[in-house]
Subunit: 360 residues, 2 copies
Amino acid sequence: MKNTYFTPGPAELYPTFQQHIQTAFDKQLGSISHRSQAFRDIYKFTDEQLRTLLNIPKTHAIFFTGSASEVWERLLFNCVEHESFHLVNGSFSQKFYDYAGSLRKFAHKLEKPFGEGFDAADIEVPEYAELVCMTHNETSSGVQMRVADMHKLKKKYPKKLFCVDMVSSAPYPDLDYTLIDSAFFSVQKAFGMPAGLGVWIANQACLEKATRLQQYENLTIGAHHTLPTLWKHYKDFETPATPNVLYIYALGKIAEDFNKIGVGTIRKQTEEKAKMVYKFLEDSDLYSPFVKEERHRSQTVIVADTKKPSAEIIAEAKTAGMVIGSGYGAQKNSQIRIANFPATSAEQVQNLINYLSNSR
Amino acid sequence: MKNTYFTPGPAELYPTFQQHIQTAFDKQLGSISHRSQAFRDIYKFTDEQLRTLLNIPKTHAIFFTGSASEVWERLLFNCVEHESFHLVNGSFSQKFYDYAGSLRKFAHKLEKPFGEGFDAADIEVPEYAELVCMTHNETSSGVQMRVADMHKLKKKYPKKLFCVDMVSSAPYPDLDYTLIDSAFFSVQKAFGMPAGLGVWIANQACLEKATRLQQYENLTIGAHHTLPTLWKHYKDFETPATPNVLYIYALGKIAEDFNKIGVGTIRKQTEEKAKMVYKFLEDSDLYSPFVKEERHRSQTVIVADTKKPSAEIIAEAKTAGMVIGSGYGAQKNSQIRIANFPATSAEQVQNLINYLSNSR
């Protein structure tokens, strides 16, 4: 009897994933050369499916890394000469900020308490900040930033580069890539795959910045997975080093599965399932939504305060075959986190709600 | 009908790989948290199996990255303040050298022509070089450096850090880790897995150097996968970011499979199969071993000059279900490369030899 994972990543695998991997084995894709036409066709297919799904224009390229955390580093190396600016309201946006310090960049931050979110009106970007780092969905606290606010901010500061961490929400956020220079995610969240692949979307402006820093400022932009090298190989649908071919293939097939359903439908289903969970939390005596402002409540990672120690709730739910996430960091034992990704159906979410309603 | 891959990586999958992945699916390892005991047990198991296989002492830790190319960058960031020294005799050792330049390190190189190898007696390490970068098996040219020469060199320069790129040969080289500070490989070569995971072995001396550079020299050693962060998490068998859990699991199981056979037997089988191929090449009118000096001939990636265009040979062999590698770079159409990894049996190698003997 298999468990259903409502954890915020690694998460429940998408129902088709295992079949896609089986097909990959049947085609011996684990052995093909990454300099072969067979691989270039896979990269091209995944690129096309992601473009359709996320509405990515031709100005932007799509690259693969080992993880989304790696993309934090690559973005800062390639797009920041001196100063970056970070909206920080949880552990992951804080880590992105910390990476800038480790790279000896001057990192500014605007900080909000854990559980609170950002609106465009709150934000003033420092004059010399080159890259504005926003987190669409803060996985640690279940807070989202509305896409409209991100777009508004870029319109206010059109000359700065804007990037979006959508690790635990893509394909939910409907970003306007004429306003967003770069965005990234990892596959072990809403795409329902095992961990081991990061996806980095970046435009010409990012590439130009990286090229300038490397060629004219004599700065290091790193050596592995630099934007100029990634882009050069991308033109032929190749990668600079041997990539995770099997997962790139599976990601393309899952994106295709999503496209068959339609991203509009997936987003609507996500909102409907989130509504079910938030309603349950609001009506419950034992749980309450952690994020107070409705507009900042994540649609994909729902965080609840618990009356009793959350470790007990998690242990009990597991006996019923449902795995839910603990609170993050200091909230480990006073909160639960419920992932709401496409891999879990409305019926499965209802089962979880029924279980939590009936257990004391 | 499946092909047999004699390509030097990605390569033929090890016969047990698919079963290990099936077991991982049955156990839902694609969904488990990388902060759970279940994951820590997997990391610990893989660590133990690799230690047994490669005879790695407790002074060294074992880390996971996205690829071995990533390790080139991490090693240079973490272990070089100013100067590195590289033995360059092919495309991959050259890339390692190039990475140092991209990181704005002062990189020395001792270069040999494509197809030639290094002996300890040839080598003088520049006075201020901090890290000596050696390639055990140059995948592009089929040249190996003997382990005894590596050890001799370290004894001559005991104060410098020594690292070994064994990407396309591990577990074949029997390194003495009292003399080798760091070594690394990727899983899509002799371990018979799909690409997507790099393995980095490093000792306390590397860690101390990285800590000093970061804390006292105020240098950047990168932000993602720095040695101090990797090591801190390693103590609990965790990783700083979400790793490729499934592949770490499979690597541990394949290392266990190798240990059941015994690394001595695997090394002996490798040498016997290599001998078969080299003998065939020497006796043939149509092929000849590219590497002239026997002591420099790779046991795991065998390169042959071909009389007729190698593209024709490769296309013909493919019709018989055998995939062999082309020459690298400029040698693309005048050479073939035959991988000799544990995944292909003596019988399969004999079949390839028979086929090549009978085709004109």
